[in-house]
Symmetry: D3
Subunit: 238 residues, 6 copies
């Protein structure tokens, strides 16, 4: 199957790594194409960034369906453009935030998200309310590292490990979400390290979760309900 | 006080009428400026339209603060761009959806929205979940008239009256929201007509509610919390 | 417009100050009349006080409508008598607790109340459940100063500032309510002081919020739904 | 044990019947005293009536504790004065509304209340929200008979049977509350009649439930938490 | 009246003490029979134990109804087998978890459970969600003592006292549940000790609560709704 | 990968068909083994059946882990034994009810379940509350056909189609769950038929969803949190 991963940013920093990882996540039966957008922000760290990236994301998503892709991932934990794309497309559209929270919800009673910056906390909280997962969301913490500095993997892993331990010990977290799609390829190592510290809890990689969720939908031949996500009426849009 | 109303659409159909109405709503101590946006959809009838209008809306909102306006209204019931604008601005930003639901919540135990098309129902439902008003939202119905056909006032008022009566009699609605900012200047007449039919219930005009809410914030010298709506980090955005 | 503020207590301690403040809050187009009640408690610091003040409050409220006032405020954060008055009157009746929580709900994701005494915490919690704002209420703290000692403004402001900082730092509050209508005229100073401490959050003065809410209703020509607040049947009442 | 039932009304219409019934409900080990109040409404059919009856109810409740009664029931489904009395007294205080809903909650997944008039629906809804039982409350219907006409037992039973059947068939009710303490002595007959119609569901008599709840508390030597219902501060109250 | 208490375990450790206590709880008009089951776990400290004990519990419950008992208690805070027994029996079936939470809900705004081991926390949390009491459940703590070591009463009481104080001071608990039916006969002493420490809060003994709840149902001639707990279809079961 | 599907019943009626279907669902990289249990009911149509099947299910689940299977499915929509198995096993355990509801939650705003008999409605409702999906569950309807008569495929498909249409038109369902794992291999045909009737909504096959969910977990190397599902203490269990 052919899937399209759209990084809703103008920066190419994460493109190669994302392609490599998602190909690993998706297994050999799946062809993965990764793209960035033409106009928008360099990274998503606010509602403002989310608002700016959506037209560019939607343009790429519409094009991907035309090119024959069978499913789309919006590669950011805030799921920018997912609802709009679900309306205009007839192939499944998946967001990593929803996919990760959905999985977290079924693995334990209380999950937490550890993310990049305090700026995105309210946005993720709102996403969980709309998606229906707020009732099991226990806390959102951040490591206070901007997206464009995530390439320092040691600092990243150390920050995540410390905050994840804190969510377990202070907030009662039982399941953890590595709360940014820029946290590529670190979830399993963190899961092992937490287990070594006495906490046998799942750590969810959201882009891995999104890849699997999308493959599930394509395999099951299901997509978003067109009664929830109705096709928009035709009109002038410039 | 000086307030800016931004119609997040490229069509000028409603500009004049909106200006006239909001001036009436705001009273003589308030200077009202109304503008449309440069790029986006002709009307908002889907998540897709909402996504497309936000960059244009934000551009106008940022400009308005620079020009010295004291507050902003996003003139669409789905409150497009309100959260993003609250982050980037230091003046209050108000959405008619939230303002109307807030008022509805305090006037009775069960409120309903009667809107334009089935396409926007999920979007409004989601807004009520994020805003915290879903617990009193009883139903959302529509009159099945597109925004750009709302100028037929008789058809509009007849459709609204019939659906409003239905929400009271079948859904248990006790408070009503005229669910589109394109329903300009009809709320009071509908309220009177419902009273004549035996239902003494408030019918809320959302753009009237937003105007009053914004004036309240300016008068009280309060605005959105910057702990919820943090200022976005600087970065490249094109 | 003419509005009546009823202090549901027998003590005149706050009457003058309240009149002065509400006149300031209401602007020059509004005539404000303030009264206390004939029978009841000296202050409201319990469900017991709330129960005792209601007949006296209702008597004054009914009289005010007869005298031609266009709206009523019950001047206590617990909103005593508001629901009953909404039933018997055909003019809008507003409570400062509901008005403040409503405003708080739309300014951020988590709000807290800082009030007088631990005795009123459950009562305010219950009010937020009935009003529909419990989902965004993060905590209620108190400064442990009885209502009748609130005239020591320095002690009051110091206590409020400290507890407000604590709700932000320990409870995650993003919006604050100055949780007693006896906290007259301190909200803006507290807001400034918190901003100087690095917390740019709104501090809501509940009687200011109630005044604006009432003006909004009168201006919009709306009042409580008579399907929620039905007119009570005639009967003997002594 | 000695318990006091306070009818929070000035009418003696139900006193004798209530005494007879509650004595039956309480069994021979319990001495039941029933009283009305000195000032207030003839019946409770609105928030307004509830507000008016509370001072009179509290006077009788305080007196009852002084006379050595071990527990108090406020004999009206809206539980008027219960919270205030829990503050000022050190013996358990029980309301039939809360007692009935509590029992209903544990007997099935969806319960409904069938009450006297549409006027009390919002009041009961609010009670269920504060008490924590709103999540299983499916509907509230009424038989449209005022309290003071409940002595026509045939009309009463016929009305209740019809509305109860409707809540089962149309609203999905699985447990029923005979929703007024004036519906004395009819629950079991209705339960039997519904069973004959194919619906083997419990019908709860609220004053019976309150009597049993109060006996339970006295027997277990527990009462309301004084951290929720703190003793009110001393002050002038006239 | 004749009631049957089924300890859903194969160990006789608590049988005698339970019989003695429940007889005390039930008063002289009630004949109490206590039994253990033939197959299952020695104690209930996990979902696994709960799953294993249910067939044995149901066997004894069915037999008890045949022998003429008027009601059943499943003697474990997790209420194992209660829902299944409510389906197959036509007499009331009560669980101590639900009975205690129901009582806790009506005595204050926030209740906590202090139980045996961390292993049962999620199970009790789930029970509170199904029963409808999660909205007032503030925390669940444990004393980290296995059920089969509860006979060391001093260690038990000391552990419970310390954790209960902590739930009040750190979690805001206002009502407490002694969270295991193996905590026989300690609630009142703990209540007194907490009162001496300044906390006048109820401490609920769950098996006492269940006994009273069952007596209430038998006295009121009500039982579980057969629309919620339908009689299972006949089929082969081996 | 090797997965074990345990039909928690003693009847072999569905074994062959389930094996064939799940193999199709799982794709060629997965070896599927299907088994029934040794003791329990012939089908699951009540809480009673669920209680009876759990020891047999757990026995097979423990054995499967020992034999090297990498994951377990409890093949019944009520997810019997899933929580207990998650405690005792260190491989992922999935229930079709939770897997289907999780997927439904992310495909639309309102989902409904159409199941076999009215007897299982409360049980599924409870499952949705514990799993956290009750907030999007709109209704549960049944086709009134017992599990052991499901082999009449035409009657089954006709019944499902009619009830599914009804949930869309009368309950507002936007996503559908084919609510019994005995409804093997009919979801896609129903989805097509509903689309032909104008309703482009997903119809979820729960055992397909469970298979994909389990594969996702094995691929991502995650399993249930051992802080939620703690390993049960050792003890005598017979």
């Amino acid at each position: 199957m052919d899937i399209k991963v759209i990084l809703p940013v103008i920066s190419n920093t994460l493109t190669e790594e994302t392609k490599k990882e998602v190909e690993g996540y998706a297994s050999s039966d799946t062809k993965v194409s990764v793209t960035i957008i033409d106009h928008g922000p360099a990274s998503i760290e606010s509602e403002y960034d989310e608002a700016l990236c959506q037209p560019g994301f939607l343009e790429k998503a519409i094009q991907a369906e035309k090119e024959g892709y069978q499913g789309i991932i919006s590669d950011c934990l805030a799921d920018p453009g997912v609802k709009a794309a679900r309306e205009v497309l007839n192939i499944p559209v998946v967001g990593p935030g929803e996919a990760a929270m959905q999985l977290a919800t079924s693995l334990g009673n209380h999950f937490s998200i550890v993310t990049v910056l305090p700026n995105v906390v309210s946005m993720l909280e709102n996403l969980s309310k709309v998606s229906g997962f707020y009732n099991k969301l226990t806390s959102i913490r951040d490591i206070n590292i901007p997206v464009l500095e995530l390439n320092d993997k040691n600092r990243l892993k150390q920050g995540l490990f410390e905050e994840m331990k804190r969510t377990i010990e202070e907030d009662g977290a039982q399941v953890l979400i590595a709360g940014c799609t820029g946290f590529v390829g670190v979830a399993e190592e963190l899961q092992n390290k937490l287990k070594d510290s006495g906490y046998d809890v799942p750590v969810i990689d959201p882009i891995f979760a999104a890849t699997q969720m999308l493959k599930t939908m394509i395999t099951m031949n299901i997509k978003q309900s067109k009664l929830t996500y109705m096709t928009p009426p035709d009109k002038e849009r410039i």
